[in-house]
């Protein structure tokens, strides 16, 4: 078990820099999720921690060791791959034992660890099968088992659930979380799925275009997104954004209506409102002209435009709503649930 420190970490391929000055301190036993759209550099970052990619500049420390120059096998880590990377010609038992055999552990110790991991993951009955004789979920467990038996300081997960169907994904997500809490091993988990990220991580590192947009707990990210990108990426359905101008009474919408808001220094801002924070209010300043309604059962999503403009808006309303196309709904929003961003820097503006 160990802390991980990433200091001014940069990665370039030739002249192209793909990760820019990444900083991060991960506490012992913490579950960190790196999340971002494809191509944001999240897998590269994980693979740098694993030792599968070289570090261009900066430093990675695991525990009190600088590991930049260490071989993957010397870093005391274990990794679960997206396609599991099980050795197809070896049985489940051999797959799990392979790394231990190379490390020249005693046979009895290897067996003990394999059996123990098999117990935890409930794959005991399959120990002598080959990977191709297993279902997707079982393979996933074997891949986890292979990580567990090594008893590493760090678990690394590279989108391990993306090859499973939706139902299994939810189930395995919970199991991974439970397992990590039980073993207390520091873990880094990469995914592009924000729901997975929110439910799994103690803290989330949001990456975009090779930059860390924000690093914080799921609730921090939801309540106080540091940038337009994080605000749009976290939460579903995604946050609504409207251009607005500021004044002494609050912010003025493109429709001309003014709503109360925190005071900021800038004249024009980007206003962010989460769909679930729009409250139906006959006297509200925000009007949505409905295009389409999505009925989700517990709530309904109203898709439309801000009255009189062509700014797309979504509102989430509790219960069933059946609105005809063209119907108008009015909403209000609490000032503390408004998010203001600088349109130029895309960063959060604070009062």
């Amino acid at each position: 078990m160990a802390e991980i420190h990433l200091t001014d970490l940069t990665k370039s391929y030739g002249p192209t820099e793909v990760l820019h000055h990444v900083e991060g301190a991960i506490k012992d036993g913490e579950f960190i999720v790196i999340v971002g759209p494809s191509g944001c550099g999240k897998s590269t970052l994980l693979r740098m921690v694993a030792g599968l990619e070289s570090v261009t500049s900066g430093e990675i420390r695991i525990g009190d060791r600088r590991v930049n120059e260490l071989e993957p096998s010397a870093r005391d880590i274990a990794m679960v791959f997206q396609n599991y990377a099980l050795y197809p010609h070896m049985s489940v038992r051999e797959n799990m034992a392979y790394g231990l055999k190379i490390r020249k552990l005693a046979k009895a110790e290897i067996n003990r660890r394999v059996e123990e991991a098999a117990d935890i993951l409930e794959i005991g009955p399959y120990l002598d099968r080959k990977p191709r004789q297993l279902s997707g979920g079982q393979r996933q467990r074997v891949a986890m088992g292979r990580a567990i038996v090594r008893d590493p300081q760090v678990f690394l997960f590279d989108e391990p659930l993306s090859n499973l169907d939706a139902k299994l994904r939810v189930q395995m997500r919970l199991e991974i979380r439970k397992l990590q809490q039980r073993l207390g091993v520091t873990s880094i988990y990469v995914t592009h799925d924000q729901v997975e990220a929110m439910t799994l991580g103690d803290r989330l590192m949001v990456l975009n275009g090779g930059y860390v947009e924000q690093f914080g707990t799921p609730i921090e990210l939801y309540d106080r997104p540091a940038s337009v990108f994080v605000a749009g990426f976290i939460g579903s359905p995604a946050m609504n954004f409207l251009p607005a101008t500021t004044g002494p009474d609050g912010v003025t919408l493109p429709t001309g209506g003014t709503i109360a808001a925190p005071q900021v220094q800038l004249d024009s801002v980007l206003l962010g409102i989460r769909p679930e924070h729009l409250l139906p209010d006959e006297a509200g300043e925000i009007t949505i002209v409905v295009d389409m309604v999505e009925q989700l059962g517990a709530n309904s999503l109203l898709h439309g435009t801000l009255g009189g403009t062509d700014h797309a808006m979504v509102a989430s309303v509790a219960g069933h709503v059946s609105a005809a196309r063209g119907a108008q709904y009015r909403f209000s929003v609490a000032p503390e649930q408004l998010h203001l961003f600088d349109p130029k820097t895309q960063k959060r503006l604070d009062a």
């Binding site: 599968l52 993957p72 096998s73 997206q82 396609n83 070896m90 190379i102």
Partner: protein
Amino acid sequence: MVENRPLTSVLTHVILVLGVIAIALPIWITFVAATHDELRMNQAPLPLWPGSYLWQNLKQTLFGAGLSGSETAPVWLMLLNSLAMAMMISLGKIAISLLSAFAIVYFRFPFRMTCFWMIFITLMLPVEVRILPTFEVVANLGLLNSYWGLSIPLIASATATFMFRQVFLTVPDEMLESARIDGAGPMRFFWDILLPLSRTNIAALFVILFIFGWNQYLWPLLITTDTSMTTIVMSIKQMLEAAEQSPQWNIIMTTALLAMIPPIFVVISMQKLFVQGLTETDK
């Protein structure tokens, strides 16, 4: 078949059976000739149906004096020579091709492409176009009349290297990454992961290369002058020459049969691997 017309389907089988007969005829006639005695094999027309002398011919060919009036090695020794040559060529080719493909796929090193092209060039230099100078090299190295001389000059192989390169490229990258995290070094990865994963490709290639090695003719003809190094395939030509004086066709054809049986056996018994090997290496 799309439609069900009895007449066309009968015709199909008739033509295929005729084809099989035409293709198999030379081999059948060889077999028949190996089952008659010398007397019968000197009367025209020659028999088309087997006689009863097969065991006797086999015994005489394998362990007897062989063809009377010619000074050749015993046929069992030739079979042994052929087997040694075929095995050395096929295993040698597989070994060095596996190693070079491994280097080319899994390492980046200066002159990597130079190595690649040098191997590629062997494709364009069949032994037939460099007979004399290659002979000189082998003679200068003192490898004439040796198994080494028979096999080593033939074991460089661009096709086998490219085939293994292709096979290795289809092995997922995560195999290597996973092995590295498990602490496996390059050679350990090669033995524990890559070789087992390429098992069927190796077997398929072996089938093709065994036949290739067994059937070598020009090269052994050049570099073996000692009769004790004669291979079975080479001996047929010598026997044909001897046949002009003493036509012991039963013995010659028994020898031919013995020379054909090992490669034919390999092709038929490992047909699936054979077809796989053929289509993979020649692409």
